[in-house]
């Protein structure tokens, strides 16, 4: 009966199959190779004979991606063959793994724009916090208010200037506030892609500093349902976090469902005291349902996130001391002031394959409610942001070498205040309309891309007392040339960001930041232009990437402190400045010595500087280098198998290039170490243990929002992660 109903609704329901074998260069079968059908997000693995089989419809021209750690990945384009034979060659150095981008379904080796892609499993090896994990990428930093509230900083820009997307949908969650965190966790996220620098051509308004594109974990290809439990613990804030997920695929239907609960107490400072009210807790639920035929893929996704976030360093004294803001005991129960952040997102994404063309249609609805309480029963701030987005794109080959993609995006945001003591931003709406065209030429190892986009944004208050329209053009031009051992990418991209309600109209105390903020109705859109060059060289035992860039921003909107006080709170005013430049260089080196095949060295270096005319720009990250040494152990027959151990040293230089009224920061170095273990008697079980900040170093990041109170970050913290797959 069930099948009959399916046939009724999906008359083109039929199955084709692809199977094959993966071997190494010595013709030996390779087990445990990931086989990913990129468009349908179905993942399977080869068995002990190196064989795999996928009993699902596969859209024509879909990329099928074969990857295994320590081997060079390979991609094939599916036509109609049922049997494939793949060979993967051993790879000693992995400087920039070739992957299929979820942003545009292109191989990273053919990208002309700078997209950095990482699996979440790589980022949270020694860090179980989404933002902290991302800050390990070169050019990425975190701006934090304790351990619970964190924001991503990309090449010195953050907040409204960095667009965050989850499965192609923009997350709108009041990023204008310096104390408003990212709002979700790594639950069910499989991969993150980072576009460094202007990205309006793809993502529209606001993507001036870059875009973070998160993609959910893949579906399984079939068989029995699979479940996964991940439990983590960190000693500094006694944080426990549990994630439970179930994946199930039956024929063309696929589903992933996950839940999470996490709770953290006040974190321990290096002096042994605890930072009062740095506690937080979070709950999350997400589910996705996918279905596909050979010419249609549909995914329906729902996600819920709820966070209770303590706001530390709150005092009514003008200059509180560290002793006043810390406590000798550790507590995890919610107190005041606290943020309550609730997010619901629903997303329906459709992909149609029409001959050689691809049509994408994406519809989403999200609601974010942010409540800030200083009292127990009456909120200081209670804002709900509703967002509806519709986007469509059409990709078509014009010839063997030329591809054209065009698309449009529509968006509507409604900001509504509920009864509260203050109303920092008024009730109003933002309406977006954008259209773009991308032309890509690709021949042999050369790829070039030209893109143009027009956007229109209207900001309107509900009481009709204010209305403003913004129009903007964005463009991108990129060239990519790949040689045998070398790859060079050169790109220009532009973007714009319109002022937010808070920058145009705020006039009041923002309790989370302890500022009286005053907006300016006459602000115009910021415009950014970035030039980016990435050179990559890969040898047998050494790989390196050098990536200099220059970013010019006109009409930059800055929040400047003023020499006045209202109601005992310092006044800050939004002002527009010209000729802001951010320049820097990012380098990565991966060295794998020939004489020690189990040893890997990875080094990354980030150097950057931001200027406003002849003055330095405020809140620019300090120079940073990260050294990672990893040793892989041989597989043994022992009951406890040690897979690898790693040692990491992160050095952050002093930041003395500071803006007027901004204090400099001292240099610091942090040691982290850990190891991955499996236990013979418990199959599908992995254990990671380690220590962060081994030397219990007292340090304050230049971007910490608690820097003005001289509150250091966490001291030494032991961590443990249990991962069990059934």
């Amino acid at each position: 009966m069930f099948k009959q109903i399916l046939f009724l609704f999906f008359p083109i329901y039929c199955f084709s199959q692809i199977s094959g074998t993966v071997k190494d260069s010595e013709n030996q079968p390779l087990a445990g190779v990931d086989v990913l059908v990129s468009s349908t997000m179905v993942l399977t693995q080869t068995d002990s004979k190196g064989q795999f089989s996928i009993s699902l419809d596969i859209p024509k021209n879909t990329l099928i991606f074969f990857s295994k750690e320590a081997y060079a990945s390979k991609t094939i384009q599916y036509t109609s063959e049922n049997e494939v034979s793949i060979q993967l060659n051993k790879l000693h150095v992995d400087i920039d793994e070739v992957v299929v981008s979820s942003i545009n379904q292109k191989l990273s080796s053919n990208q002309t724009i700078n997209i950095l892609s990482k699996k979440m499993s790589q980022l949270n090896e020694s860090s179980f916090d989404l933002v902290e994990g991302l800050s390990r990428l070169s050019g990425v930093e975190q701006s934090s208010t304790g351990t619970g509230i964190k924001k991503i900083v990309v090449r010195g820009l953050s907040g409204m200037r960095v667009v965050t997307l989850l499965n192609g949908v923009r997350l709108e969650n009041q990023q204008w506030g310096g104390d408003h965190g990212i709002g979700f966790t790594d639950l069910g996220i499989g991969k993150v892609e980072l576009v460094k620098g202007p990205a309006s051509i793809i993502f529209g308004a606001d993507a001036l500093g870059g875009a973070l594109y998160f993609s959910d974990e893949n579906y399984i290809s079939g068989g029995k349902p699979r479940s996964k439990l991940i439990s983590t613990f960190e000693s500094s804030n006694m944080r426990i976090n549990n994630q439970l997920g179930v994946k199930w695929t039956r024929k063309a239907f696929k589903t992933n469902t996950l839940i999470e609960y996490g709770s953290a107490a006040d974190y321990q400072l290096p002096n042994g005291l605890y930072l009062f009210n740095s506690r937080y807790s979070n709950q999350a639920f997400k589910t996705s349902l996918g279905y596909n035929t050979d010419n249609w893929i549909v995914n329906l996704r729902y996600q819920y996130n709820y966070g209770i976030l303590g706001i530390p360093a709150h005092s009514h004294d003008a200059e509180p001391t560290l002793e006043q803001l810390s406590s000798s005991s550790q507590n995890r129960y919610p107190t005041r002031p606290t943020q309550f952040n609730t997010q619901h997102s629903l997303n329906l994404e459709n992909t149609f394959f029409i001959a050689d063309n691809t049509l994408n249609i994406n519809l989403s609805q999200s609601t974010n409610r942010l409540e800030e309480f200083e009292a127990w029963t009456v909120p200081e701030l209670d804002i709900t942001l509703g967002s509806t987005q519709l986007s469509g794109s059409y990709a078509m080959p014009i010839s063997n070498t030329l591809n054209w993609t065009f698309g449009t995006q529509l968006g509507q945001q409604e900001n509504t205040n509920k009864e509260a003591r203050t109303q920092l931003i008024p009730d109003g709406s933002i309406t977006d309309l954008g259209a773009y065209s991308l032309l890509e030429y690709s021949k042999n190892s050369f790829t070039s891309q030209l893109g143009l986009r027009f956007d229109k944004r209207e900001i309107e208050l509900q009481d009709n007392t204010f209305s403003k329209e913004f129009d903007a053009f964005s463009a991108t031009l990129g060239l990519s040339k790949k040689g045998q051992n070398q790859h060079i990418r050169v790109s220009y991209s532009s973007a714009f960001r319109t002022p937010h309600f808070s920058e145009l109209l705020s006039d009041g105390v923002h309790h989370g930041t302890k500022r009286h903020e005053i907006g300016d109705k006459n602000l115009i859109a910021e415009k950014g232009h970035q030039f980016d060059i990435a050179y990559e060289w890969t040898g047998e035992h050494l790989g390196l990437i050098i990536n200099p860039y220059f970013h010019l921003i006109n009409d930059f909107i800055a929040l400047n402190p003023k020499d006045s006080i209202i109601d005992n709170t310092q006044v800050y005013k939004y002002e527009q400045v010209d000729n802001v430049t951010i320049k820097g260089i990012e380098m990565n080196v991966h060295y794998h010595p020939h004489f020690a095949h189990h040893l890997h060295f990875e080094e990354s270096l980030t150097i950057m500087e931001g200027k406003e005319g002849n003055s330095f720009l405020a809140l620019m990250p300090a120079h940073k280098s990260q050294t990672l040494v990893r040793y892989y152990f041989d597989k043994t027959q022992k009951k406890v198998q040690l897979h690898n151990t790693f040692f990491e040293y992160v050095y952050t230089a002093a930041q003395n290039k500071v803006a007027e009224n901004e204090s400099p920061s001292k240099a610091y170095g942090l040691f982290n170490l850990g190891m991955n273990i499996s236990i013979d008697k418990i199959p599908n079980f992995e254990l990671t243990i380690g220590v962060k900040n081994v030397t219990n170093k007292s340090y304050i990041s230049h971007l910490s929002r608690l820097k003005s109170y001289e509150i250091p970050h966490e001291g030494r913290s032991y961590f443990i992660k249990l991962c069990s797959t059934l």
């Binding site: 709770s263 807790s281 507590n331 009292a375 029963t377």
Partner: protein, 87 residues
Amino acid sequence: MKKVSIIMALGFFFACTDHDECHECHIAWENAQGQEVEVEIGEFCEEDLADVESNGYTLDESVVVGNDTVPAGSYPGSDIHCEEHDH
């Protein structure tokens, strides 16, 4: 080990809720030097807590705190601060 993990997960899912809704409150009054002076007004629970935080508190007589005299009168909810309670 799996059972332990599952029990841990379920335990943490339902742990850590806050039930006690009583708090010691004070009027936060600012003196001429801009320093905060506190006048204790007692413990408030549930509806009374919501009432004092919404509608404020009337101090019938002036109160001397150290060298400061906090005048009698009505203080708005924003001047009422209620402390964290012990667990």
